[in-house]
């Protein structure tokens, strides 16, 4: 009966219900967008590290992110690492911002990723046109088909210039988006070095693959002891560091989280307001319930049920709208991301928000004097 009464009270005043739902909707959609952007950004920032087949990353000391690793590692570190027990392979990677001169004039910045796919540590994924063999052919690179406009190209066969040399688009990836808005361009390790004009033994990162059964933490400690001026990070640590650099040093992450908090606050205030006024309207009924001998807990449950019902309805509508926005955003510079975890968190958040909203209404009913039932 608690649910029945809550449901009837809710649907009794349709306008107020609409306002409540709009409040919840507003919150959910806003929070979903903000956190969706946050997740989307995170995935973009960590994609390269995440996709790599490696147990540990060796970076120059103080490397801030995947894009800003410098070009400081050399064969010395590589050999030291290879000599460490438990290490199976050490794969060099070259990553650097570079100037891209468009075929029709003008320039932009790209992130050049030099890797040898044969080494099995990192390769351009989601190739939709061309193969790794094509990228190995002279002057070849791969570009992403969602960045044609920025790169001033139209597809396979177009030529451009990266830093020191001419390049030819021989393969296309699909939707490897970049948080820095500088498109990722893949090529071979040696071509990357020559385009950037660096020594042939230099690398940005060494990706370490371990022998089966090796203890990651022990190997890491040993690598740290052997390598001076370099850091040894797990994938998760390096992802964290990249996230911190791009999301928090730049303030972008804080803006997103701040926006989400604002959404929660505004939604809570609206729901609290409507729930309070609904409770006020039904105060006589709550007094009657009290006179009939209901415990105050019973009455709180009615109010909480009202809050919970609004939460569930508002959540369902809010998620539907958010998914719509998600779909629309899929080809924008910042595609939103929704995960089951985020959807679950949003539901928890909605319930929490409604419960907080119920507080003022509950305080109101605790002051009910059942004696008022006789003075109507």
């Amino acid at each position: 009966m608690i649910l029945t009464l809550a449901f009837r009270n809710l649907f009794h005043d349709r306008i107020r219900l609409a306002v409540t739902l709009v409040g919840i909707l507003f919150s959910i959609v806003l929070v979903a967008i903000q956190l969706g952007m946050y997740l989307g950004s995170s995935q973009m920032i960590t994609a390269m590290i995440e996709r790599s087949n490696s147990d540990l990353w060796i970076t120059a000391f103080g490397a801030k992110s995947f894009e800003e690793g410098g070009m400081l590692l050399s064969n010395r570190e590589r050999h030291q690492a290879l000599a460490t027990p438990g290490v199976k392979a050490v794969v060099p990677l070259v990553v650097a911002f570079a100037e891209w001169r468009k075929p029709e004039g003008g320039s932009t910045r790209v992130v050049l990723v030099g890797t040898d796919a044969e080494d099995g540590a990192l390769e351009p994924w989601s190739l939709v046109s061309g193969t790794w063999q094509d990228i190995k052919s002279p002057d070849a690179i791969s570009a992403d088909d969602t960045y044609f406009k920025e790169l001033g190209i139209e597809g396979i066969g177009d030529t451009a210039q990266i830093a020191m040399g001419r390049v030819k688009v021989k393969a296309l990836t699909h939707r490897i988006r970049s948080f820095t808005q500088s498109p990722y361009v893949f090529t071979t390790l040696s071509r990357a070095r020559s385009l950037l004009g660096t020594d042939s033994d230099k690398a940005t990162f060494y990706l370490v693959q371990l022998e089966p059964g090796a203890n990651v933490e022990a190997v890491r400690q040993e690598l740290r002891n052997r390598l001076e001026g370099a850091e040894v990070l797990t994938k998760a640590e390096f992802e964290d560091r990249s996230l911190r650099q791009w999301l928090f040093r730049t303030g972008a992450g804080l803006a997103l989280i701040g926006g989400a908090l604002l959404g929660i606050l505004v939604g809570t205030v609206i729901v609290a307001q409507t729930l309070y006024s609904s409770t006020k309207d039904h105060l006589n009924e709550f007094a009657t319930l009290r006179a009939l001998g209901s415990s105050s807990g019973y009455i709180y449950k009615v109010i909480l049920a009202q809050a919970g019902l609004s939460a569930v309805i508002g959540y369902v509508l809010g998620i539907l709208i958010s998914l719509g926005i998600l779909y629309i955003s899929r080809n924008t510079p910042l595609p939103l991301v929704m995960t089951p975890g985020l959807a679950g968190a949003l539901f928890g958040l909605t319930l929490f928000m409604s419960a907080v909203s119920a507080i003022s209404a509950i305080i109101k009913v605790t002051k009910i004097d059942p004696a008022t039932v006789f003075s109507r």
């Binding site: 608690i2 009464l5 006179a291 009939l292 209901s294 059942p370």
Partner: protein, 249 residues
């Protein structure tokens, strides 16, 4: 002599604060036994509603003793008082106080829900009492689609659904026309007799006198008289037990 289900001893009740303080009850003694319909009559402001609220454990006395089914009310907190109400007392109000968003059946069911009776068993009990008050064909109607008399009968059903030993009614016929007023009073008398409950109804209405087993008069916060119909007499005629009064006002 039957054991009283509800007793008030020397009950004093002060209402309001400071200069507005009023002694609404000035030492009331009253006890109610099962199987009787008692009417509480008196002029406006004499303390009828206040006494009803105290007997119903909605208010507590400033001084004096109230016992419900032998249990003393003194010193109980709001939650314990609520528990006494749901265990022992049914209420009927002048303005029915039905839930407008619930059907007749649901209005009765919620009173059972409050005392923890749920599900099919509660539903069939609600239906049963609604049939008893003659509303078997109005189960799904909402209060707005019921006449005043029907609404008050739903309220009566709600009051008796949980089988309380005492039913307290404040001016149950005041909002009803003569015919419906009589119907509700007849119902209350029947509830007292057939179901062996104690029913106390506050009323102004002289038409209700004929249904009473006992009439208690209150004036200015004090019981000033009590009349009782002799056992075995069915006619609406009241014999004076304390002092002679004209029953037909």
């Amino acid at each position: 002599m039957t054991i009283p289900v509800l007793e008030a001893e020397n009950v004093v009740k002060e209402l309001g604060k400071g200069a507005g303080k009023v002694q609404a009850l000035k030492g009331v003694n009253l006890s109610l036994v099962k199987g009787e319909l008692t009417l509480l009559m008196g002029p406006s402001g004499s303390g009828k509603t206040t006494l009803l609220s105290i007997l119903g454990c909605i208010l507590t006395p400033t001084s004096g003793i109230v016992r419900v089914a032998g249990e003393e009310v003194a010193g109980k907190g709001p939650e314990e008082l609520a528990e006494l109400r749901r265990k022992h007392i049914g209420f009927i109000f002048q303005s029915y106080n039905l839930f407008p968003t619930l059907s007749a059946l649901e209005n009765v069911r919620i009173a059972l829900d409050v005392i923890g009776r749920k599900g099919y068993q509660a539903s069939s009990r609600a239906e049963e009492v609604l049939r008893e008050v003659g509303l078997g064909n109005r189960l799904r109607n909402y209060p707005s689609n019921l006449s005043g008399g029907e609404q008050q009968r739903v309220a009566v059903a709600r009051a008796i659904a949980a089988s309380p030993s005492v039913v307290l009614a404040d001016e149950p016929t005041a909002a009803l026309d003569s015919e419906n007023g009589h119907a509700v009073m007849a119902l209350l008398a029947r509830i007292a007799k057939d179901q062996n409950r104690s029913v106390l109804a506050v009323t102004h209405d002289p038409r209700t006198l004929g249904y009473a087993d006992r009439v208690v008069r209150i004036e200015d916060g004090l019981i000033v008289g009590e009349e009782r119909r002799p056992a075995g007499l069915d006619a609406p005629e009241i014999t004076d037990l304390t002092k002679r009064r004209k029953a037909n006002g």
